[in-house]
Every structure is written in C-alpha cells, then in structure tokens.
C-alpha cells in the first residue's frame, strides 16, 4: 500500500541485557517484537495494552526518539528508520509527538511562547511570521494569547497539555504520535483535551497514533484499534468490530476487566490470573498462553502469526 501515510513493518526493538562496558550481553529483551501497521491520513489508530507491552516504545521509534533494531517506518513511502540526522530533521515536520506528562515534557526555563515558536524558528521562519503563527496556535488550542510570556509552572495540567499540542501543531504535521496524552489529566479536563484533538483532526486532517491504556478513551477517539501484548500486536480491527466482537482472548479479558460505567452493569467477569510475564523471559510459543483461559498444549509450540479474519480484522491466535 503506497497510499498509507505511515507504514510500519516488522518493527523490532531489542535491548541487550547483562552487558557492561567490556562484557558481552548475554540476554536480550524484546520490547517490541515485529509490529506492523499502517495509518492513512486523517485517521486515528489506537494502540492499547498494559504497561510493558511496548506501546510507548513503538511510539518513540516512529518519531525516532528511540532507534529501531529492525524493520522499516515509511512516511509517505520514504523509509525514515535509516535516515541520517540532517535528512531526519526535515522529516520531523511531518511527524510530531505529544507526551503523557505535561510537567516534564516542557522546558521549565522557557516561556510558553518560545516553546511553541522553537520548531518554527528551527525551520527558518521569520520573526514576524513566527509571532503571528504562535498567536494563532495559542488561539487554536484554546489558550489566551497573552499567556505567551508565562512559564510552564504558571499553567495547570490541562493548559500544559494544550501547550504541548500547540508545539506539535506548529509545523503543520501530517501525523501526531500521542503517547498517553490524557492519562495524567483529571476527568473533566481530559474531555476538553480529547475534544480538542478530535476538532483538530476534523479541521486539519491530521492522523493520530493514539497510545493509551484507557479502553474507553481509545474507543471514543480511534477509527481503528491495535491491541498489544508483550511486544506484539495480538488483534487489530475497526473500532466497532473490535469493541463489539473481540476475538483474541486477551482483548476479551481486557474489555471484561474495564470497570463498568453503572453499578447495575456489574459483570460476571473472567479474571485473568497472574501478571504478564517478564519480557526478558517470554514464554515459548504464544506470549499470552500463560494467562490464557483457552490455551491448549499446542500454543507452546509456535508464535501465532497475525492472520486476516476478514472484515478488516487481524488476530494472532492459534485457536481463532
């Protein structure tokens, strides 16, 4: 597919363990182990999973804050995973990122206006134009334009996240990677930021890779959803298909575990036992088999491939 805005294929990130300065690493940790997906322009792909499943690492590799071990990341057809620093700089116009913690992702010594202006200045935009663009960006994300002279600590959490969004928008990117953008915010403020993100997508046609652990938020904002477990995608489908009829036992368990929105809807739930295994010593075969309610002996033999089940749904399970 050459029409996809972002095409990730076979993406891997392995970390060497037990290595020292003069010691050879003896083990590897596969944080991301062969992840492939595409995002078209104007589309939101939700990436969900529990902590340690590799969703944030995937997000960081796409903006090349983390180098890839293997695999390709194509933006508009061009592979950026091997670009040099200079060429990558130009590509950064197209892909920006918003971080989870609005407190640590803004430089506390820079004024709000400078934070938003920095990407513009990096691309040689004149002083006057920078000023007008910053003012319109502030206006666009719902911050008062006389706040440009303030420092990050003078803003609330929600306002800081708006500032992060303004900075990401500055270069008019085609794709914004959102790494848990609302999980540090209070519920009432969370809704404001989610609405801002959807408004921006409608007006500017930006695509999002939306990484989150909150299933309700992901269901609300995504067009398609990918579920990750131990470094791999276990299920990927349209939002409606995935949430109304999950096929992978892990997706089913994840949905069942989410707290109900009304006391009368308390569900008899299938509780997963135990914790996710450590990525340093993943189980053989299917990574989910140790917690899977329907696992069979055969599951220990081979890693299930992501298979197409029709209706735009892909599942990695031997038994589905």
């Amino acid at each position: 597919m050459s029409t996809a805005l972002l095409e990730v294929s076979g993406l891997k990130k392995h970390y060497a363990l037990d290595g020292g300065l003069f010691r050879k690493p003896t083990r590897t940790l596969a944080a991301v182990d062969g992840v492939s997906f595409t995002i078209s322009s104007g589309e939101t792909l939700g990436l969900v999973g529990e902590s340690g499943c590799g969703k944030s690492t995937t997000a960081k590799m796409i903006v090349r804050l983390t180098e890839t071990t293997e695999g390709s990341i194509r933006i508009c057809g061009e592979d950026i995973s091997t670009l040099g620093a200079g060429a990558m700089r130009h590509k950064r116009r197209d892909v920006q990122i918003i971080f989870q913690d609005p407190y640590s992702s803004l430089n506390p010594r820079m004024r709000a206006g400078d934070i938003v202006a920095e990407p513009l200045r990096n691309f040689g935009i004149g002083r006057e134009e920078v000023r007008t663009r910053v003012a319109s960006l502030f206006d666009r994300v719902g911050l008062r334009s006389d706040y440009v002279a303030r420092f990050p600590h003078e803003f609330s959490g929600g306002q800081r996240q708006r500032l992060g969004i303004a900075r990401a928008l500055a270069l008019e990117p085609k794709l914004i990677v959102c790494d848990e953008p609302v999980s540090a915010l209070d519920v009432s403020v969370q809704a404001q930021v989610i609405n801002l993100l959807t408004d921006l997508q409608r007006e500017l046609g930006i695509a999002y890779l939306f990484v989150a652990h909150d299933l309700a938020v992901v269901e609300h904002i995504s067009h398609r959803v990918a579920v990750m477990y131990l470094g791999r995608i276990v299920e990927m489908a349209d939002r409606q298909t995935l949430f109304s009829d999950p096929r992978h036992p892990y997706t089913q368990a994840l949905l069942a575990a989410a707290p109900s929105s009304h006391p009368r809807q308390k569900k008899e739930r299938l509780l997963l036992c135990g914790d996710a295994p450590s990525p340093t010593s993943p189980p053989s075969g299917c990574p989910f088999r140790t917690r899977c309610p329907i696992a069979e002996p055969g599951c220990a033999e081979a890693v299930p491939a992501l298979r197409d089940l029709g209706e735009g749904r892909q599942v990695a399970c031997h038994l589905r």
Binding site: V187, S188, R239, Q240, P259, S260, H262, A276
Partner: protein
C-alpha cells in the same frame, strides 16, 4: 441503621502556607457502617486524600491542621487521643492502603519482616505465631507460594503483587475500618479487576467498613454501596450508588459523568464529549458561595454569594446546590 463505625462531623482541615490558608477540607460530614463500602470521588485537589489523612491523623504538621470537627471511631473521638493512643489505632483498628505500593513498602526489609512487625506490634504474639498469621494472610490475598514470598523483598514482586501484600498487611489485625486511597490507580486494568474483586471479597467476608477514595467513577460503580462526591474541599453530593448513577443532581456530578467516555456507548469520534469548562478554583481563600459556580452553566447571583446547604432531595440523597429544585432543566 445501627450506629456507624466511623463518623466524621464538620471536619475542616486547613493548610497554613506562606501565601495564605488553603482550605483543603471544609465542613465535611460523613459516616461508614460495618461491612459497608463508601466511595469518595473527586478530582485532584478536591480534598479526598486529605480527608483520609485526617482520619489517620497523618496530616502534615505544622502547616496542616485539623481546625474543626470530630472524627469518631465507634463513639471514641480520635482527635482527642494522644499520639501514643493513636498509634494503637493505626494499622490495628483503622488501616490504610495507598496508591503506590512501591513507595509504601520498605525496600530493605523482607515482606515477612514487614508483615510480622504489624502483627507483633498490635497483637503481642510470639514470632512464630506472627509468622503463621502472616503466611495465612498472604494465602488469604491469593499469593502463590506464601512461605517463599515471606523471604522476598518488594522489588522482586510485581505491582499487583505488592498491592496484595499491602492488602494483607492492612487486614492482618482485623481492622474495623479500611481506608483505600486510590488503591488501583497505578495498576493495569486486568490487575485492577483482580485487586477490586479481592477487596470486595475480603470486605464481605470480614465485615470491614471500607472507605474507597478514587477519581474513577467506574471503580466506585464496581465496589461501593454509597458515594460522596467532593469538589474543591466540600461535599457536593451524597447518595446510594445506584441512585447517584441514575439521578445525579449536582451539576458537577452530572458534568463528571457526561465527560467520561464510556465503553460500548458506540459514540465514536466525530462526536464530542461534554466538557466542564474551566478548571478547579484555587483553595487559597476561595470566593464565597458555591465553589463550582465559576464553571457551572446554571450559576446565578445567589450561587456566587451564598454557600448552598446540603439538602435531602430524595431518600438518602443529599445535594449542595441552589438549583436542584428543577433537575430537568439542570440536566439539559
């Protein structure tokens, strides 16, 4: 209803800072009965955690002080007790679980050592008996191989496992009241479901009164029988859990419910969430009147001058709002 186990009357906890007085909790009244689970819901800074610290008498002094009110445990006023007497209550009659199980366990002591410390401190039993009791507690919270875990250290355990240890420790002395302050916020959903199920099960089996403090209405729906909604240091609504979700009366409660995306509501993007405009007011010398007035679509002149009293609008349903008389209007 019989007399409540824990009764809080007109509690006000203030922090005296260089910039002025922060009214973190303002005239809060509530109670929990035996075997009941009370949820306290609100956003950051609403005073829910300060309430729990006040009950434990753990408010940071000298800046923080309980300036008014009474906290009674089965009729005994905790605020009148000496620090020494209070130490007999903490971990024994009232115990607490915190959000971050890593920082609330001692990293250099083994799990067994920490469990036994609590049991021996309050029960005065021999080391051997305490060890046995600790192993039983670990078994109760469904920790596999409890004998081996007793010798392990917190860093060797996962987050969910550590929270189970905290629960074991909290229940070790058969407390009358358990205060759980965001017990599952740091955990993944599948682990959260396990921990909530475990807490509810233990609460029912042991008849403990539970105060669950959370920002997540879903967690409340799952585990509590009665809910208090707090906003900017005050109680704005109190009701039975079903009633609150069916008929929220306070504009803030309604706003909170409408602003949460729900699973399987089929909203999908393109549709906007209802948002509450603005943000929580500063608790430094807050303005008179209703503290939600600045963000409320129905605020009138009265709201900005007079504090609305808590009024009973239905059976066991209290609301602090001047405009609950016309709930239909307010809802839209």
């Amino acid at each position: 209803m019989e007399t409540p186990i824990l009764q809080i009357d007109d509690l006000s906890t203030h922090f005296f800072t260089r910039d002025g007085v922060v009214r973190a909790v303002d005239n809060l009244t509530c109670h929990v009965g035996a075997g009941e689970a009370l949820g306290i819901v609100g956003e950051s800074g609403c005073g829910k955690s300060v309430t729990s610290l006040s009950v434990m008498r753990l408010v940071q002094s000298p800046s923080g002080r309980i300036v008014n009110g009474a906290i009674r445990l089965q009729g005994r006023d905790l605020l009148a007790l000496s620090e020494k007497e209070m130490r007999e209550i903490r971990g024994n009659e009232i115990s607490m679980i915190f959000q971050e199980p890593m920082t609330s366990l001692n990293p250099v002591l083994s799990i067994g050592c920490q469990l036994i410390e609590t049991i021996r401190r309050h029960r005065g039993v021999s080391g051997k008996e305490a060890w046995q009791r600790a192993v039983d507690m670990l078994r109760l919270v469904q920790i596999p191989e409890p004998d081996q875990r007793m010798r392990e250290y917190p860093h060797q355990l996962s987050g969910g496992m550590r929270q189970r240890i905290m629960i074991a420790m909290a229940f070790a002395c058969d407390p009358k009241v358990l205060i759980a302050d965001e017990p599952t916020t740091a955990l993944d959903v599948t682990i959260q479901a396990q921990i909530l199920a475990l807490m509810s099960d233990l609460q029912k089996r042991l008849g403990t009164a539970v105060v669950l403090i959370t920002h997540d209405l879903g967690v409340v729906a799952e585990t509590c029988q009665r809910v208090i909604v707090m906003y900017a240091g005050r109680k704005v609504e109190e009701a039975d859990v079903g009633d609150l979700f069916d008929r929220p009366r306070h504009p803030y409660t309604k706003g909170l419910m409408a602003s949460m995306p729900h699973l399987h509501r089929g909203l999908g993007n393109g549709q906007r969430l209802k948002e509450i405009p603005g943000m929580v007011p500063s608790l430094l010398d807050p303005p008179p009147g209703c503290r939600f007035a600045g963000r409320c679509a129905h605020a009138t002149a009265l709201c900005t001058t007079e504090e609305p009293p808590l009024t009973e609008t239905g059976p066991r349903h209290w609301v602090a709002c001047w405009h609950t008389g016309a709930p239909a209007e307010v809802a839209q």
